[in-house]
């Protein structure tokens, strides 16, 4: 095949000047590597988003007390959210399955006979069990009667059960929380260890009626957050706005006045997760685009210089019988081979970085084969786009002038 012989001549020329070939390749290597990393980070980020949203609850929202740019500390020091807010949401917003206000306090001393431990105390309404999908597996959970009567009862996590009661049956036993006597009416399902919201161990907690928590244990008039579950995730964006408007109204806030609350939804979580890797990805996109364009221009210019430099060679080849098409094919091969080899090297670099990135940084990156197709397309595009002009210039040289 004549075209293959021309390609062979092109490859031979590339091999003769390795440094020049490397410079022609550099842009493609960087560009393709960046491209591969971008796509790996993108995929990793989406995986992270999905995991976070799954953890949070795809149909869940959290109305949290406290505004501002940064998340408030989860310690209930912001006093703007009240039980009535939850009641208003429950009554006025349609399409909600659960509205569960909650108050909490960390590191509360718990005591049963001679046994002591520290745990988080959560004041909740009965809906809490549904809102977190967290039932009592022994005894029973918090009921509306408990809330209405400020009952001195509690449902304990499995860690608390272990620490205070050992192998005893804790139901109907009593424990003291901040000198308040509570009767154990149930044990929560075991959840295990996970790292979210500063809670190291999910099971190291007790839950009590929210009224009991506010009046008897914590002595506060406000709640820390309200967990809301919608019936239909599709309704959520509208519901978020409705809730926002309702709380604005109840708290007498008129934008642009700053909110004294925030609503966290899967959308917000996704934005938060995407935030950091998004910035990095944007930088990499810029880098990829820049290196592919700059690399392409460099490639074209080196090729143009090499056409000028090799005028004699082109003239010789024409004299020996090369047609214009032969010369064009040879130079286009040089350009395409450069970008294709650059693509392979760039992909290797990109995959290497994608594998190392999650090991040494918090950035998640998942490699896949799709970037290879994109990189191949880019390599061919850049190679053709920036190779055609030099190849044409070479092909148009008249043999008589080229040989001079």
């Amino acid at each position: 095949m004549r075209i293959l012989r021309n390609a062979g001549e092109g490859l031979h020329s590339l091999g003769l000047n390795k440094l020049r070939t490397f410079f022609m390749m550099a842009g493609t290597i960087v560009g393709v590597a960046a491209l591969v990393v971008i796509m790996a980070i993108g995929k990793g980020t989406e995986r992270k988003v999905m995991k976070r949203v799954q953890n949070f609850g795809p149909r869940a929202m959290m109305l949290i007390a406290g505004g501002g740019k940064d998340l408030p500390p989860p310690d209930m020091t912001v006093t703007t959210l009240e039980l009535d807010d939850a009641e208003a949401i429950r009554n006025q917003i349609e399409g909600l399955e659960v509205v569960a206000p909650q108050a909490w306090r960390f590191n509360m001393d718990l005591k049963h006979e001679n046994y002591q431990t520290q745990a988080v105390v959560w004041g909740v309404e009965p809906q809490w069990h549904d809102a977190w999908n967290w039932p009592a597996v022994e005894g029973e959970g918090i009921t509306s009667d408990d809330v209405a009567t400020l009952a001195r009862v509690c449902v304990i996590g499995s860690a608390v059960k272990r620490d205070l009661f050992g192998n005893q049956n804790p139901i109907d036993k009593e424990l003291y929380c901040n000198k308040v006597r509570l009767t154990v009416k149930g044990v929560l399902e075991h959840r295990g260890v996970a790292g979210m919201g500063g809670v190291k161990e999910f099971d190291n907690r007790i839950i009590i009626p929210i009224t009991t928590a506010m009046r008897r244990v914590m002595n506060v008039d406000h709640v820390g957050a309200i967990r809301i579950i919608t019936k239909d995730a599709a309704l959520m964006p509208r519901q978020v706005e409705q809730i926002r408007a309702l709380i604005h109204d109840r708290h007498h806030i008129t934008p642009p006045q700053e909110d004294d609350f925030r609503i966290v939804s899967p959308i917000v979580i996704a934005e938060m997760v995407r935030g950091t890797s998004g910035t990095i990805s944007m930088l990499l996109v810029a880098l990829a685009a820049l290196s592919l364009v700059v690399g392409g221009v460099v490639l074209m210019n080196i090729l143009l210089i090499s056409v000028t430099e090799r005028t004699g060679e082109i003239g010789l080849r024409r004299a020996l019988g090369a047609t214009r098409r032969d010369i064009f094919a040879q130079f286009l091969t040089e350009s395409l081979a450069v970008t294709l080899i650059g693509m392979i090297v760039g992909s290797l670099v990109g995959y290497g970085v994608s594998v190392l990135l999650p090991r040494f940084t918090p950035i998640m990156a998942i490699t896949s084969w799709e970037p290879l197709l994109l990189a191949l397309a880019f390599a061919l595009l850049v190679g053709t786009f920036f190779g055609v002009q030099p190849a044409q210039r070479a092909a148009r040289l008249r043999p008589v002038e080229a040989l001079r």
Binding site: N6, L16, L320, G321
Partner: protein
């Protein structure tokens, strides 16, 4: 057989035109060894470009081995050059950092039918110019005379109708020049058609016939009764060297 009839070549367009060839006619039979001679500016290079099918004449007829060259397009001319003409240039024009063998194979790459025995042919061509022990050498590892011999092998490899040599000894010392001319003489004796373009009367005397150009026209076209024999002269100069 090469036949030129009233070949004219004029450069420039419009009102500013320079006629360089003003009507050249000659015939060269197969197996002839012809020198085309002329000082610079006589149209010698232009004629060589026309003969080599690198450039088309403005007017006139040129038949090369029965082919009417004037009516061919760029691609057909390329194939014709590949098929019928073996070029030898003053500056050798070898590909740098490329072995002698690969350099010699270069014209075969552009053949319309790539011969399967391309490497054997290149091999044979290098043997024919006495470089059988230099096949894997690169041009930078060869002397000027050896480089020109590689170029001659490259011209031979396609078994062309005519070898067209443009000042082949111009860049060589007299001894290497004689060596190159000796090869031409040998090729001529084997029946090759050789056209040697030169400005030097001395070099031209190695041919059987000399066509002298002057001012775009043929001033003289004569047989050389006793052509110089490079082989002999080479031997003699070697003898002298050993004596002194």
């Amino acid at each position: 057989m090469i036949e030129l009839k009233n070949i004219e070549k004029t450069f420039g367009t419009g009102s500013v035109t320079t006629p360089v060839l003003k009507g050249i006619s000659f015939r060269i039979e197969r197996g002839e060894y012809v020198a085309i001679m002329g000082a610079s500016g006589t149209g010698k290079s232009t004629l060589m470009n026309v003969l080599g099918c690198l450039d088309k004449p403005t007017a006139g007829q040129y038949r090369l081995d029965g082919v009417d060259v004037v009516n061919l397009d760029d691609e057909e001319l390329s194939h014709l050059r590949n098929d019928k003409i073996g070029f030898v240039f003053q500056q050798f024009h070898l590909l740098g950092r490329t072995t002698a063998l690969r350099n010699v194979m270069l014209p075969l790459i552009y053949a319309q039918e790539y011969p399967e025995d391309a490497e054997d042919r290149a091999d044979a061509a290098l043997v024919a110019v006495g470089l059988e022990d230099r096949m894997t050498y690169q041009p930078s590892e060869l002397s000027g005379g050896q480089q020109q011999r590689v170029a001659i092998a490259r011209a031979l490899v396609t078994d062309p109708e005519m070898i067209l040599a443009d000042e082949p000894t111009g860049n060589l010392d007299s001894r290497s020049g004689l060596e190159v001319l000796a090869i031409f003489k040998r090729l001529h004796r084997q029946g090759r058609t050789i056209v040697l373009v030169t400005h030097s009367a001395e070099t031209a005397e190695h041919a059987d016939r000399v066509i002298v150009l002057k001012d775009g026209l043929i001033a003289e076209d004569r047989r050389i009764e006793q052509p110089r024999d490079a082989e002999e002269e080479k031997a003699r100069s070697q003898q002298e060297e050993t004596v002194t």
